[in-house]
């Protein structure tokens, strides 16, 4: 059963299509990395899912139910652009209000739990407006985690988080999806960070979904190659060509494609008097895949 199913969703502002017949499927329990340039329609899509905007056309289904179903929507936690908190109220009061909004049985217990998760338990009394950008982001995350969310919509949550904050963020998301079966839709520009935890990716460009695949597919499709460096590069190149079919020289690095085990290569070279100074398996990561996709799309 899919957490989010979107069929030909469109939304236009003053004639310009922010979201243009978008299709999207997010399986339940997934951490869905939503990637796209600034202004490609990421936030608009997320606002449509949370019901902040009214779609021109198209259909959104959350857990099989319509997205206007109150039952589903009470289980959605959202952090879009910034944490909507009252500046003059304290952090505790803001979270208390959200706890009341979700009708939680034990509001204070929940608040304590989420504040501990984001390591903000000692700043509950400060006014929201006097928190720094990073702290406001953590409070936004805490607010989205309140109650028992079945779906988390996070728009660039690691914006403004420091290294420690990002690590916590990763742990929270992995923990909440595996332990509680929650589904996470997370958008970010730091693809390296996203790659560490995302189980599915969706790449959007100018309001259209141009690629949607799981992390496993990504790995399969990614061309694996071994890149190595030796003192006598040309000599090694000729020898390797005899043994392995697809070998190429890239700058000072030799690339051996379609070959899984690096030991074989190292041993083969050592036997033939070439000592490897550097060798590691390389795969086309998310970043390269994204850049390649973007450049390909530019032509047509």
């Amino acid at each position: 059963m899919n957490a989010i199913e979107i069929r030909s969703l469109s939304k236009s502002f003053r004639g310009m299509y922010a979201v243009d017949h978008l299709n999207m499927t997010v399986p339940q329990g997934a951490i869905y990395g939503f990637i796209g340039e600034n202004g490609s329609g990421k936030s608009t899509t997320e606002k449509l899912i949370c019901g902040h905007l009214v779609a021109d056309e198209g259909e959104i289904k959350l857990f099989g139910k319509s997205y206007t179903d109150p039952g589903v929507r009470t289980r959605v936690g959202a952090l879009i652009e910034n944490a909507g908190c009252f500046p003059n109220s304290s952090v505790y009061q803001n979270l208390k209000m959200q706890a009341l909004n979700l009708n939680l049985k034990d509001p204070d217990g929940e608040i304590k739990r989420v504040l501990e998760i984001v390591r903000m338990e000692d700043s509950a009394r400060i006014k929201f407006k006097s928190c720094s950008l990073g702290m406001k982001q953590r409070i936004g995350i805490a607010m989205a985690l309140l109650g028992d969310p079945a779906l988390l919509i996070l728009d660039e949550p690691i914006n403004g988080l420091d290294a420690d904050g990002m690590r916590i963020m990763r742990e929270i998301l992995v923990d909440i999806t595996q332990k509680y079966g929650c589904t996470v839709l997370i958008s970010s520009h730091l693809l390296a960070e996203l790659e560490k935890i995302a189980t599915h990716y969706g790449i959007i460009r100018q309001g259209k979904m141009i690629a949607e695949l799981s992390a496993k597919d990504m790995e399969k499709r990614a061309k694996v190659f071994v890149s190595l460096k030796t003192k006598d590069t040309n000599g090694a190149l000729n020898i390797l060509k005899k043994e392995f079919n697809n070998v190429r020289l890239e700058g000072e690095y030799l690339r051996v494609y379609d070959e899984e085990s690096t030991e074989k290569i190292v041993e083969f070279l050592l036997k033939n008097g070439h000592i490897v100074s550097e060798i590691h398996k390389n795969k086309v990561g998310l970043e390269e895949y994204y850049i390649e996709l973007m450049s390909k799309k530019e032509e047509n």
Partner: protein
């Protein structure tokens, strides 16, 4: 990796949804200074007016009885002098400003994102805001009453508190009538502020004008000149400013009833209107 545990979504009942939204609104009402500031304003104004009205030199507003500060002695279709303004209806002027700030801060702070994420139905928002604002305006009526009494005492002998039996009953009914009307006014102000959520300044100004009744009186004036039978219309348009008064000539309980009917009518109309508009348009 697919999660097998089935997530169940129990449908929250209407009352549970309203209860949760009310919880948020009342928590914010009691934990922010806005409510207390306006309660204070509602108390100070009558005290000042009554207090100054008896100073020498200024002829003041010519009060015969202290209770004029609470309700006009007779139904007033047309405001002639400042005196007619200075009665409990002023609560609805300040109430309008308070509601605008209360709802405005929802939108300005962005908290409305959380509210409308968890509440798919827009009428939860309208109903909860109406109830919260009605409650705060009712409290303002009470503090207005206290302020008036204190002002009267302070004014000393020149303002009489004498009331015969009938008038006391009428006074009580007048006050209850006004408090009931606050629900109607709350719905009206919620509607205005929800429609004009993007233009905070204008919504305050419009609420202020509605509150002072200028617009309503203007409309009544136009209707008069068109000679449309204005009794029912006046009742609908003026609501409390006409019928909740000391001696409305109508049996006081009937006056309260009229206020109730008008208040309910306003509430239903404005909530339904607000909900349809809200659900058709973007949240921000």
């Amino acid at each position: 990796m697919e999660k097998t545990c089935e997530l169940n979504f129990e449908e929250p009942s209407f009352f549970k949804r309203i209860k949760s939204m009310l919880g948020v609104d009342f928590y914010r009402l009691f934990h922010t200074p806005l409510f207390y500031i306006f309660l204070a304003i509602a108390a100070i104004i009558p005290a000042i007016i009554l207090g100054t009205s008896t100073m020498e030199g200024s002829e003041g507003i010519g009060y015969t009885s202290a209770w004029n500060i609470i309700a006009a002695s007779k139904p007033l279709y047309v405001i002639e002098s400042i005196g007619d303004y200075a009665n409990m209806n002023m609560v609805f002027i300040f109430g309008g400003i308070m509601v605008s700030i209360f709802i405005g801060s929802d939108y300005r702070s962005g908290y409305v994102k959380q509210l409308f994420t968890t509440h798919a139905k827009k009428q939860d928002y309208m109903i909860s805001k109406t109830i919260t604002c009605a409650f705060s305006m009712a409290c303002m009526c009470i503090t207005y009453l206290l302020g008036g009494v204190v002002g009267g005492l302070f004014a000393g002998d020149s303002v009489s508190f004498a009331l015969n039996g009938g008038e006391i009953f009428a006074l009580v009914c007048a006050i209850i009538g006004k408090m009931i009307m606050s629900i109607g006014w709350a719905a009206l102000y919620t509607f205005i502020n929800v429609i004009l959520r993007k233009f905070f300044g204008i919504s305050i100004a419009l609420s202020f004008f509605f509150g002072t009744g200028i617009l309503i009186i203007g409309v009544a004036g136009v209707f008069d000149s068109l000679h449309i039978p204005n009794v029912l219309l006046n009742a609908f348009l003026y609501g409390s400013s006409v019928f909740a008064c000391l001696d409305s000539g109508v049996f006081p309980l009937l006056a309260v009833l009229i206020c109730l009917v008008v208040s309910v009518a306003w509430t239903v109309i404005y909530i339904v209107l607000g909900t349809t508009i809200l659900s058709k348009s973007d949240v921000y």
